[in-house]
Symmetry: C2
Subunit: 344 residues, 2 copies
Amino acid sequence: MSELRWHPLLGQWVINATHRQNRTYKPPADQCPLCPTPSGTPPEAVTEIPVPDFEIAVFQNRFPSLQPAPPAPDVEGTAFYPVRPASGVCEVVVYTADHQGDLGTVGLDRVRNLVEVWADRYRELSALPYVEYVFIFENRGEAVGVTLHHPHGQIYAYPFLPPLMEKELEQCTKHWQDTGRCLGCDILTMEKEGGRVLHSDGSFLTFVPFFARFPFETHIWPLRHVAYLPELTDGERWSLARALQQLVQTYDRLFAKPMPYMMAMHQRPAKREEVGGLYHMHIEFLPLARTATKLKYLAGSESGAGAFITDMSPEFQAENLRAAAAGTPAAAASATAAGSGVSR
Amino acid sequence: MSELRWHPLLGQWVINATHRQNRTYKPPADQCPLCPTPSGTPPEAVTEIPVPDFEIAVFQNRFPSLQPAPPAPDVEGTAFYPVRPASGVCEVVVYTADHQGDLGTVGLDRVRNLVEVWADRYRELSALPYVEYVFIFENRGEAVGVTLHHPHGQIYAYPFLPPLMEKELEQCTKHWQDTGRCLGCDILTMEKEGGRVLHSDGSFLTFVPFFARFPFETHIWPLRHVAYLPELTDGERWSLARALQQLVQTYDRLFAKPMPYMMAMHQRPAKREEVGGLYHMHIEFLPLARTATKLKYLAGSESGAGAFITDMSPEFQAENLRAAAAGTPAAAASATAAGSGVSR
């Protein structure tokens, strides 16, 4: 069963995909479905990637929430409770043939290639008639629910504008109407001088935003007004690759262990050229670790009411990430227990 | 440090409360701050509740995100990045003096008293000049991030309308304008006949909604149009207490262990009498367990884009909860591995 049901109270589509309940769950490393298939492997042991080696692999998720040719919905919709087929595409982007690694360690050339792959997939998926939004993301760490440890990200091509992107577009449109300016460009003006910058090379800015909702939440934005990945120049793509690599390295130094996070790429909706002027692409990293041993939970206030609470000021978060980036990991790791900004 | 910062991209307030980072974290049972204080206890060992026994206790959270007289914000706001004091109230509602227990086991009379306490707190907190929304909720289980195991819930009196409630009110207003009817009343009409009802006694309806976003998500709604708790009659309050007790018992039978969940009480915003006619109060239970051993994670799609994916049809979820309620826990516990509705 696979269908979209309308949530009348929240005005959003809920994806129902029942065949996913039994998806691959933490397989042992020697049964990793994202590893390449050595030549001579018997047919029953072929992985999702039937070749002995690859650079970066993209394939359709075997347990997709959304499908190009979905089955007819299981229930009949009504005007009050509409139902739609779960059209769309769910892709897996495997970063490397190695079973180990991440954006911080796979090497700059590979991250640069990944940017190319993402831009390519954005272009191709956004052209599909049933796709309204292409969401490129990565879940990292068991705390985020990751069940396959081989380095990979995902792409969901939704047949609707997801709620957070809808809200964002609404806010950007309002700001455009009020001021004639792109909201993202104005955010960048503030953030350049905000004291929360982690890294900049003139093309991309990495910073903890003034309005961070997650612990150590960090954004990577192109300084030039760019609405989606394919618009980036070659130089900007290298700059983005460097920013991604540096940020993940910084995260992993902060607590001297891999930081669990969600990476969420925000681009203008598919086929919506008309909003290109008012929408500024960016990448959000949403970590889940508050300290080396404590996680942030999205509990009652966050999940039940949508109201986020943070335990550290964004300035304090930026200070600690800068210390980690500068290679003073010990200071950073103990910072939340001993440092400034946390009243005892 | 304690302040509200405006998130311009999502149009919402983020609560920054840095003194919370060091809040009480999983204390041993003999140091539980929610247990009563036996007489003769030395001053340094007095708990949050300085009396030897109590029925239900309500007190202000010692590590509050929101405070009646908050300190001045740490940073100066601007027109673009507004900042406000984190005004509000965070209360803890301790269900019983016993260290063990939950809504399913503390007894019907106690749950009935709890309804009275909630109605009373709603009335009092919603009258405060700086309060816009009174959110009564419970986080249950370590999977939800609970750090104190003594049975308790919480109340956040926000100085703004939380994002999910804002969206809900928008949808209810739209429906009212389109049809002249309350959206909640229309949902109830559909749900009464939807085949997903778990329990009803003529005053309250317990059901898995057509549009469930969480695994085994269940709603408890008054059948009569009621906008907030204080409007409930004595008979309805008993009915609500029974519904709450039954639902938690059912959850705990489903997998033969305590179900981790968030309980979220949705009532009309404080001091907004004018929306009473179009807003229907209800209680949402948002569980996090998909099976006896697997959790639902709010990962990339949910947290990064706001788009929810469920692994089981709401009809299948209701069927399993009914089986658990009927006392066939074995069937229910294995249902997600063997039952109908999950294609293999």
